[in-house]
Symmetry: C2
């Protein structure tokens, strides 16, 4: 089982809750990726957001830099919002990053956009949400599946390519492309039909409720003739590890509160509720917040339902202090990971 | 005077002149940038091309990686084809790279596209060549000049921004933005009027013929009220340094031949002519090919005409062997640069 982290580069906060600079947020994110690599974590994902509180707007640039500054960790977007970007550009950036990584460490995760701020920013129409995604995913896969640099493709949401080179090509010929979903059934079926590995973002509710979706995914994949080993499941969830469960709960709460306050203001929700936090932070809730023993047990418990091969955590929600983020990354790599392996071997 | 190099990541060739992989080309380019940094070169520019013989399609990704892997060198695009890209994306990538560089080492050079392969690749109309450039340059400058992350802009070649965040912001608030031109008069006047530093690509003819353009640029800048110290000129030219002039001429020729053969096939030119090469490679021709003494003297000679503050060379034209490229970079940094400084001090 691969363990990892992901981040949107959350901006840290001053004592009065005002935001520090977006520049500091990117510096901290980059430091976290380098520590994850040194600690032995398997994967780091960089999300795409475009706000002052989450300024990781260019996963391609951050991952290219991380490819140069790391040795062993796998790097991916989590996710690239392909609906409102150009798959040719995304492919070029990630292929470049893959080459710089030494080859074979860089992946693309293709998303539709859970937050929708990219639509006005890049001049797209939200009414075309589904069509943009389907069309651009098709182009991304066409480029990746092409045997030669020259690609021919046509669709209705992006100008056609008529035997035009998309370069550079990744060192190993193809990039792993994951399909990201918040968990609707049609996305699971689509991922299976396309034979793409699927990444479930589980940000609320009991994670084991995703078991029927993972079943649907594997059945759709098998029905479309894809080999079982190509049908991989990963889980992206929120969480934080600290030496004790009490510390983990206390450290994760202020950032969770900030995030929900901000989202609530944008979307008209009521003020964040501490009871909701407590429910999500205890098994079988959505958050993996605890000491290494508990987090390891909960990941293995979920594995019994989903059979997932990668579990990665968003730890810096709402801009927690950098030293707490770094400690959590180190504990995940050095304490949680061996526990997960032992527990899985016992099964 | 700053000395530097630039590259489109030219793909090396096998003995039978067939191209090696684009992946190897990017690996070699990245190695060259790291050596340029270690050797003490002042600047490395990465151009944007989209062909199997020049696969550096994502200057933003390469420069972000280079920012992570270098200590002192300034890094820029040379150039970003802004006409057929989105200035918001370009700004986000280069601001991210600048932050990862430690702040203050990353620049954007905005170009229209000397080769036009990006127009069909990204679905733009060549008839809008001038209008796309003007419009997108205006957006790029508006983002850079904004005091806050939130930007408001409208134009006719890109959807409007209405108080939308463009993040992250570079560590130092703004990025240097250069205007690239092959040397037409209206571009020089425009750069001056906008108060942008100008980068002349001198790829043929006698370089000192650019003196009237540099004068026009400075006069237009002064007439628009820009301070003389903001009106900087740089020169991008082809060239190669070797221990002896004979070696330099012999090493640079095969790549030059390959490049001109390929361009000739695309554009209907006759076969490359060795006499044309010899004329360009001797003073006052366009190519800076020689031993350290001669190249230093020729750069300082041009400085008498242009007063430029940066001179950087494209050395890997047509895919010369990597060891010859690396030797040229090292000679430029360690042999040419001190000679140029001594000659300028004597003046």
């Amino acid at each position: 089982m691969e363990l990892g982290a992901y981040s949107f580069g959350d901006t840290q906060r001053n004592a009065d809750d005002s935001l520090r600079s977006t520049s500091e947020a990117i510096t901290n994110l980059f430091e976290a990726i380098k520590l994850a690599d040194r600690s032995g974590l398997d994967y780091f994902g960089v999300g795409e957001h475009h706000t002052t509180s989450m300024p990781a707007s260019s996963p391609g640039a951050i991952i290219a830099a991380a490819a140069a500054a790391t040795e062993q960790i796998k790097l991916g977007s989590a996710a690239s919002i392909i609906s409102t970007d150009d798959p040719v550009r995304i492919y070029q950036q990630f292929a470049t990053a893959d080459i710089i990584s030494g080859g074979g460490r860089v992946e693309i995760t293709a998303g539709r956009g859970s937050s929708v701020e990219t639509f006005p920013l890049f001049g797209y129409d939200l009414e075309e949400y589904d069509e943009l995604y389907a069309n651009k995913l098709d182009l991304l896969m066409t480029i990746n599946d092409s045997q030669a640099p020259e690609v021919t493709w046509s669709g209705n949401k992006r100008p056609a390519l008529n035997d035009l080179a998309v370069v550079p090509r990744p060192a190993q010929g193809k990039l792993p492309i994951w399909l990201a979903t918040g968990g609707n059934a049609s996305s699971s079926a689509r991922a299976g039909q396309l034979g793409l590995p699927v990444s479930y973002a589980i940000i609320g509710g009991a994670p084991h409720r995703f078991a029927p979706l993972a079943d649907l995914y594997r059945k759709a994949g098998a029905a479309s003739g894809h080999a079982p080993e190509t049908l991989k499941v990963s889980v992206a969830a929120m969480g934080l590890i600290a030496p004790t469960k009490k510390e983990a709960l206390e450290r994760f709460y202020p950032g969770w509160y900030n995030l929900n306050l901000e989202m609530g203001r944008l979307r008209g929700w009521p003020a964040p509720d501490k009871r909701a936090y407590d429910i999500q932070a205890e098994a079988p809730g959505a958050y993996y917040v605890g000491d290494p023993d508990e987090v390891a047990e909960r990941i293995v418990h979920l594995h019994g339902y989903l059979g997932h091969m990668r579990h990665f955590l968003q730890m810096d929600v709402g801009g927690i202090p950098q030293e707490q983020l770094l400690e959590s990354i180190e504990l995940l790599a050095t304490e949680v990971k061996p526990r997960v392996q032992r527990l899985l071997e016992k099964k």
